[in-house]
C-alpha cells in the first residue's frame, strides 16, 4: 500500500504544482490518474516513486518512508515506465532489458543468476520483444523501444508498476496488448498498477479506481464508473462529453464532443 500524506511540490519555488495532496493506493488495484495538462499527474507519479522529494508531507510504501529508502530498495518495490526514454549509445535489446535486474544484484561483485535469466526472458516474452533481443535499440521503432523499456521495468519484478502515459508511441494494437498483459499481472499476481491516462476510454476499460487531479490537487476520486460522469468530466476538462454504457462489457464509453457548431 502506498500512502501519501499532505504532499506538496513546487518546481520553481513560487507556484505550487502539487498542493496538500493526500491519497492512498491499495494493494492489487489499478489506479488511473487523469486530469488536464499541467494538473500535476506526472509530478504526482514522480513523487510517489521517489524521483522528486515533496516540499511538505511524506510518502510511505508498505509502511516505510520513501525518503528513508535507497534507490535500490525503491527499485525493488516500484518499476516505472517513463513518458520519455532516451538512449545515448546503441545497446542490444537484450542488454537493455538486463539492466532491470541491477536492483536485485549485489553492488560490489554482482553475479548473473538463473533467476535473473528467467526474469529477463519472461519480460522479453511478455512484451513480445523476444524476437528482437539481438537487435540494437537504435534499429527499432519508437514503439518497439517503448516495449523494450517496459520489458526492462517488468524484469525488475516489482509489486508496483507505474506507467506514465503508456499509450505514448504505441499503436492501438500494442497499447491494448500491453494493458491486457498488465491486467493479467494485476489479477493473477496481485500487482498494483498506477497509470497516467490521457485517453479516458482506456481508463474506463482498465482502471478500478480513478484519481482526477486539477491544479495540483484532488478534484475527484472514486470507482471508475463513479468518476467518469458527464458532469465531473466537463468540470475537470472544461469541455463537454457524452457518456454511454457498453451493454456487452458494462464499461462506460466516453464520446468526445466538438464545440464547433
Amino acid at each position: 500500500m502506498i500512502n501519501c500524506n499532505q504532499i506538496s511540490y513546487s518546481y520553481n519555488g513560487i507556484q505550487k504544482d502539487i498542493k496538500n495532496l493526500s491519497y492512498s493506493i491499495n494493494e492489487g488495484e489499478w489506479l488511473g490518474v487523469i486530469g488536464p495538462n499541467g494538473s500535476g499527474k506526472s509530478t504526482f507519479l514522480h513523487i510517489l516513486c521517489g524521483l522528486l522529494k515533496p516540499l511538505t508531507g511524506d510518502v510511505m510504501i508498505d509502511g516505510e518512508y520513501i525518503t528513508k529508502m535507497s534507490n535500490k530498495e525503491i527499485a525493488k518495490k516500484i518499476a516505472v515506465l517513463s513518458q520519455q526514454n532516451s538512449y545515448t549509445f546503441s545497446y542490444e535489446v537484450n542488454e537493455t532489458v538486463k539492466l532491470g535486474r541491477i536492483a536485485h544484484s549485489a553492488s560490489l561483485f554482482p553475479t548473473w543468476t538463473d533467476q535473473d535469466d528467467i526474469a529477463v526472458s519472461n519480460a522479453l516474452l511478455m512484451t513480445s520483444t523476444n524476437n528482437m533481443k539481438k537487435n540494437f535499440i537504435s534499429e527499432i521503432s519508437g514503439g518497439e523501444r517503448q516495449r523494450v523499456f517496459l520489458a526492462q521495468a517488468f524484469a525488475q519484478e516489482t509489486p508496483y508498476i507505474f506507467l506514465d502515459e503508456p499509450s505514448n508511441h504505441l499503436d492501438l494494437m500494442h497499447t491494448i496488448k500491453i494493458l491486457d498483459l498488465l491486467k493479467e499481472l494485476q489479477v493473477n499476481e496481485e500487482k498494483t498498477v498506477v497509470t497516467v491516462f490521457h485517453d479516458l476510454n482506456l481508463a474506463s476499460l482498465y482502471c478500478d479506481r480513478i484519481l482526477a487531479l486539477k491544479d495540483g490537487t484532488t478534484f475527484c476520486e472514486g470507482k471508475t464508473e463513479d468518476v467518469l460522469t458527464e458532469e465531473i468530466l466537463e468540470d475537470l476538462y472544461g469541455t463537454s462529453f457524452q457518456i454511454m454504457n457498453n451493454p456487452n462489457t458494462n464499461k462506460k464509453v466516453i464520446v468526445y464532443k466538438s464545440n464547433y457548431a
Binding site: N85, T88, A103
Partner: protein
Amino acid sequence: MQRRFIQRFLNKNIFLLPSFVLLLLFILGASIGSTSIPFYSIIQSFSDAFFKTNFVPDDIQTIVMNIRVPRVLLAGLVGACFALAGVAFQGILKNPLADPFTLGVSSGASVGAVFVLFFQISLPIVTYFTLPVVSILFGFFTLLLLIVFVRKLDRSLNVETLILGGIIISSFCSALLSLFITFSDNELRSVIGWLMGNIGGRGIQYSITLLPFLILSFLILFSQNRQLDAMTFGSTNAKHIGIDVKKVTYLILFTGSILSGAAVAVSGTIGFVGLVVPHYTRAIVGPLHRKLLPLSMINGAIFLIGSDIISRVILAPRELPIGVITSLIGAPIFAIILLQLKKK
C-alpha cells in the same frame, strides 16, 4: 562456416588482437629513432636487463632501456589513462563528445603543472613528484569548483549544465596559461611544450608514478560497469532501476579526474585521445562497459604509442609534439562524430 568460426573466436577473445598489436607497436616504438635498433636486439636488451645475459653492447642497451622503453611505456600508460577517462566521462555525461577536456579537468590540471614549472616549486615530501601531484590536485580542484558551480544552477547535475560549466572553466584556464606565457622568458619553451603535449625525455619514474593511479582507477571504473551502462540511459531511468545516481556520478567523475590529472602531469595536454579511442572501441565491441573499459585501455595505449611513433618518424630527424598528431587525427573524427550525432 570458417569465417563464422573466426568471427566467433574473435568475439570470445576480443583482447587477443589488440594485445598483439600493442606488443608489436611497443617493440616498434623502441626500435625506431635516430639509431635504428632491430627487433631482436630489443628483445635481447630485455633479456640482458632482467636475466643478466649479455647479448647486446652497452650503448644499445642504454638507448633501449633508458630512453626508448621509458618513452614508449609512458606513451602507452598516458594513452590508457586518457582513454579510460574518456569512457568514464562519456558514460556518465551521456555524451560521446565528452572527454577529459570537456569538463575542464585537463585544463585545470595543466594550469597546475605550468604553475609548478613557472615558479620552479618543489613541495616537501613529494619533492621530485611535485609536478604530477600538483597537477592531480589542480584537476581535483577544478572538478570540485565545477560541481559546486553547476549545483548552484541545477541540483541534479544536468548534462548540458555540466558541459557548459566545463567550457567556462576551460576558457578561464587557457587565459591563465596565456598569462603565464606572457610573463615567462626562459621558461617559455617548457611551458609551450606542455601546451602541445610531449612525452619524450621523461624517466621511467614517471611511468611508475602513473601506474598505481591507472590501476586503481581502472578497478573503480570496472566495479561500476553496470552502473555506467545504466547511466547512459539517463539519470531518471537509472534512478528507476535502482542506481544511486548521485553517488555513482561523483565517484566516476572523481575517478576520471584522477586519470586525467595524473596523465596531464606527465605529458601535458594531449587532446582527443579520450574522444577518439572510446568512439572506435565502441564501434568494435559495442557500448557494454564490461568490454569497453578494458579494451579502451588497450586501444588508448595503442593509439598514443602509434601517434608517438608517427611524431618521431614523419619529419625525422625533427620531432613533432605528440599532441599535434593526436589533434590532426582527432579533430576530424570529432567532426565526424558530431555529424553522426546530428543525423540521429
